[in-house]
């Protein structure tokens, strides 16, 4: 337990170092996560709208889950990308894309067909149906995917230290210089950041849910089993 008291002392003594490291960790997180969103969200939404490639869109997240994050980083280290910011970012993107894509696909694909028919009957164009009916109804699932992906990315970001990334993971990887109290301090802050990110996405998920749907779907889709494969 002494290690924990020392860790809090370390946090007090090294607030500047920890603050800078935390910012670098968040920068990596933001880079990986936002690139993944830009890639995965449009693909998932379009495939869901067309009801095409369902088998692929659903199984891609299972494949993603089976990919060990450290192994992905290891493979990328052996490519010409080498050590550095981009290796880490690419690894984060690879891990985050599948969950976002699958949830966006399932969310849009499972929108009640009668709802879509009604919208079409009202004279809505395909674009209007997508943006005014399908996406709003699918938002809870889409955000559940974003939340799970955010957690994956946040969990993997500290591993970046082993691939030349900056941030809190570096303190953990350098126990020789920071001692056990530094390692514990960095771990505590990483855990705190994970709770922060998860909390923010939980709130986003809540606000993104159209009021009429609140408390219905949002309840059963929590992280970890955004899509229960049976």
């Amino acid at each position: 337990m002494n290690d924990f008291t020392n860790a809090f002392k370390f946090i007090g003594d090294n607030s500047q170092l920890l603050w800078d490291s935390a910012l670098q960790t968040l920068k990596l997180f933001a880079a990986g996560f936002s690139i993944a969103v830009v890639i995965a969200l449009p693909i998932g939404i379009v495939l869901g709208h067309l009801h095409k490639a369902g088998f692929l869109a659903i199984n891609v997240s299972n494949i993603g889950r089976a990919l060990p994050s450290l192994a992905v980083i290891a493979v990328l280290l052996a490519t010409p990308l080498g050590i550095g910011f981009w290796t880490v970012t690419v690894a984060l993107v690879i891990l985050a894309v599948p969950v976002i894509l699958t949830n966006a696909y399932v969310g849009i694909d499972e929108v009640d067909r009668e709802l879509v028919e009604a919208a079409r009957g009202m004279g809505m164009t395909a674009w209007q149906i997508l943006t005014r009916v399908e996406v709003p109804v699918a938002l809870p699932l889409i955000f559940a995917g974003l939340r799970t992906a955010a957690l994956y990315v946040m969990a993997t970001t500290p591993l970046a230290a082993f691939a030349g990334g900056e941030g809190l993971g570096n303190i953990i990887a350098n126990q020789a210089s920071y001692k056990i109290e530094g390692v514990i301090a960095a771990s505590l802050i990483i855990a705190a950041l994970a709770f922060l990110v998860d909390g923010i996405f939980a709130l986003l998920q809540r606000f993104a849910t159209p009021r009429a749907l609140r408390g219905r779907r949002g309840q059963d889709i929590a992280k970890g089993s955004a899509v229960v494969t049976t």
């Binding site: 337990m1 002494n2 290690d3 924990f4 299972n62 494949i63 889950r65 089976a66 990919l67 060990p68 994050s69 450290l70 192994a71 992905v72 290891a74 493979v75 280290l77 052996a78 080498g82 050590i83 957690l151 946040m154 969990a155 993997t156 970001t157 500290p158 591993l159 082993f162 691939a163 993971g169 953990i172 056990i180 390692v183 514990i184 960095a186 771990s187 505590l188 990483i190 855990a191 994970a194 709770f195 998860d198 929590a222 992280k223 970890g224 089993s225 229960v228 494969t229 049976t230």
Partner: protein, 241 residues
């Protein structure tokens, strides 16, 4: 002069005596992989499978007991989900380190962390599976004179099996993935050669070999459990056909 160049280059095992492939740190050197299988990879693979099986076994036992309890008394659900979600949210590298002052640099530390990551997934899927049993099926079992226990064992659990196995499947690949990180705490599993290769100056052959083994193990485990699910629930196949 040659010595100087050697020092400046990456620290590669057998530097100077190994094959030209190893010395140049080419993408993948089969000869090195074959020569080191018995020491660097085979035992690591076995350890990795051990770590995974222990974690899944203990995780299933805890989650199953709690899920049955929550199925009977729904008040148990929220506390269990809250506690397991708490652990699930902590990034693995941090959780391993936070446990070190408590349980040391031991396999116990690794297993505590790995088990805690399985609980949320397993518990949730078990409960979803059990609650997914239609009410009329449950009533029919009652009507046939089955006791509550018989109904659970012979009717409800078999019907919940697909969801339960789906949970085991996800938990298993998750543990295989996280067990690679465990090597940072205990020198075991396939993460060990990965960290070793990084310390040697990104020795590519070792990196790729360990990573491919870890990824392959995840996929094989995934496929095996999918197969098990098919074999154990023949009625699901009949319905789909």
């Amino acid at each position: 002069m040659i010595a100087l160049i050697a020092q400046a280059g990456p620290v590669i095992p057998d530097f100077g005596t190994g094959s030209s492939c190893v010395r140049n740190n080419d993408t993948f050197c089969w000869d090195w992989f074959k020569d080191n299988w018995d020491t660097a990879f085979g035992p690591r693979l076995v350890e990795h499978i051990e770590l995974t099986l222990i974690a899944i076994g203990i995780g299933c036992a805890i989650a199953f007991a709690c899920a049955l309890l929550a199925y009977r008394f729904s008040r148990v659900e929220l506390p269990f989900v809250s506690v397991s979600a708490f652990f699930y949210t902590i990034p693995s590298l941090a959780l391993f380190q936070l446990l070190v002052p408590i349980s040391g640099l031991t396999r116990l530390t690794v297993e505590i962390a790995l088990v805690s990551y399985t609980l949320l997934i397993l518990f949730r899927n078990m409960l979803i599976g059990l609650r997914g049993v239609p009410d009329d099926v449950r009533e029919a079992a009652r009507g046939m004179g089955l006791t509550r226990r018989q109904s659970l064992l012979r009717v409800e659990l078999p019907l919940a099996l697909p969801a339960i196995l789906a949970g085991v499947q996800i938990a298993t690949v998750t543990v295989i993935s996280l067990a690679t990180v465990a090597a940072f705490v205990v020198d075991e599993g396939l993460g060990s050669p990965i960290f070793d290769a990084i310390n040697r100056g990104t020795f590519k052959t070792e990196l790729i070999a360990a990573a491919v083994l870890a990824i392959g193990l995840g996929f094989i485990a995934y496929a095996l459990i999918a197969l098990l699910q098919r074999l154990l629930t023949p009625w699901a196949r009949a319905r789909n056909a």
